[in-house]
Amino acid sequence: MKDDMEHKNSIASTKRAEKFAFGIIKFCGIITIIILVAIIGKILINGIPHLSWDFLTKEPENMGREGGIFSVIITTIYLTLFSIIIAGPIGVCAAIFLTEYAKEGIILKTIRFGTESLAGVPSIIFGLFGYVFFVVALNLKYSIVSGGLTLTLMIIPTIIRTSEEAIKAVPVSYREGSLALGATKWQTIYKVVIPAAMPGIMTGIILGIGRVIGETAAVIFTAGSSLGLPESIWRPGRTMAVHLYILASEGLSQGNTYATATVLIITVLIINLIANKLMKKLSKA
């Protein structure tokens, strides 16, 4: 009898413990949503009232206290295009080499180590490097070029990683079919494998774009922070993220700060959504 009671109590307490633990775990899951909503909500609620077509198309005035962020947006676009146009092809080519040509050995191991390590370097170090190498040593000065080259280095690991996965996922049968028809290795890659891996590759590139747009520490020491439309890529410029940082830390205008943040975050969100949709399409295929 006593054993029976003990047994029933044991089961009851096991179940109670489970309920309690699951409650905490569910809370952990939900809190991430709460945090996301809180952050995005705060920005949007305070920023949207200050958004206007004028804001997007007018130049900053009075060091950003008034006016809009037109040149800032354009600079951001310049910088992003510059880095993607260079990093994209190089990253994809590197991924092709790693998946289709490379043989196991010390060279491959070193390349992988280098790529993984580069991915882990923090942005401030990229900023320092970009400054001493591009701005000073190569005498490119504060410019879109300096910033773009630095950011290229920063996103290449990401593009290599995602492209590699995408290429690996292409079925061997596609390659065999092409080779059996007499195509060369490169023709097979160029005409069959890459097109098939495109969604995955594009996802990596889009994620790279997202990263570039949000980058601050690496940009501020290479592309500089001067306001105004850069006359050429050899001139410095201020991007959205840098502008936001300056406005916020110097307390120049609450309205403009939030508005800039809103534009930045909406841009990043849209980019992430597009990348997500692409990844879903990829896994369906």
């Binding site: 003990e6 047994h7 044991s10 089961i11 096991t14 179940k15």
Partner: protein
């Protein structure tokens, strides 16, 4: 001569199981006698494992499963038991040995610990008793704290049996327990099963007809989700009533 009345440990009436729309088990009606070995034989994919897993409600883990009919353990419907309690009474050994990535000792005491036994002395006793029952004690008594994953396949499976016995079940379900093992280990485990039936009710799914013939008291022949014939092993093998049973036994298919 006074014959002992053999009780029915498990009574199954009109059991039907559906995976979504697929009718996997059709109208099962049998009784499993206690302290005996009942073998489930039949061609692949015809419901033997599914049926076995119904006995300890492992099918509850699958969302699309729907069960109709009555299943009674010791006269009580298994849905009336708390599922944790049920699984304590009805233990299971799987096809591929699955010891936890812990020491031999930790594997055996896992069951007793979660059921509330904390006393170190008692746990040590349980470990020795269970490993002895599984005829594994001599081989591992000097390496109880070493990883269970370092044991051979046959030893791992006996460890899993010991682990299942440590919670002191009444029934032991075995799902093709020797199909992944070499012949020597297989024989060791068959011997073991022969001894176990003195204390436990064993239900074993097996692909190996000779194995069923060697170790079981009763045999159920499954085909396409139904039990075609259920009788003492002797009758099934030497005096089958259904032609399909006879064809399977003589190797004409499956």
């Amino acid at each position: 001569m006074i014959e002992n009345e053999t009780k029915n440990k498990i009574e199954i009436k009109n059991l039907n199981l559906y995976y979504g729309d697929f009718h996997a088990l059709k109208d099962i009606n049998i009784n499993i006698k206690e302290k005996s070995v009942t073998a489930l034989i039949g061609p692949s994919g015809c419901g033997k494992s599914t049926f076995l897993r119904t006995l300890n409600r492992m099918n509850d883990l699958i969302d699309s499963v729907r069960i109709e009919g009555s299943l009674k353990l010791d006269g009580i419907d298994i849905n009336q038991y708390d599922v944790i309690d049920l699984r304590k009474k009805v233990g299971m050994v799987f096809q591929n040995p699955n010891p936890f990535p812990m020491s031999v000792y930790e594997n055996i005491v896992y069951g007793p610990k979660i059921h509330g036994i904390k006393n170190k002395k008692k746990l040590n006793e349980i470990v020795e008793k269970s490993l002895n029952k599984a005829v594994l004690w001599d081989e591992v008594k000097d390496r109880l704290n070493k990883s269970a994953l370092a044991l051979s396949g046959g030893q791992q499976q006996r460890l899993c049996i010991a682990r299942a016995l440590a919670v002191e079940p009444d029934v032991l379900l075995m799902d093709e327990p020797t199909s992944a093992l070499d012949p020597a280990s297989t024989f060791k485990i068959e011997d073991l099963i022969g001894q176990l039936k003195n204390d436990y009710t064993v239900v074993i799914v097996t692909h190996n007809m000779q194995q069923a013939g060697r170790i079981s008291d009763d045999t159920a022949f499954f085909m396409l989700g139904e039990i075609v014939e259920f009788d003492s092993t002797e009758n099934i093998f030497f005096n089958p009533k259904d032609k399909r049973t006879e064809d399977y036994i003589t190797g004409r298919f499956g």
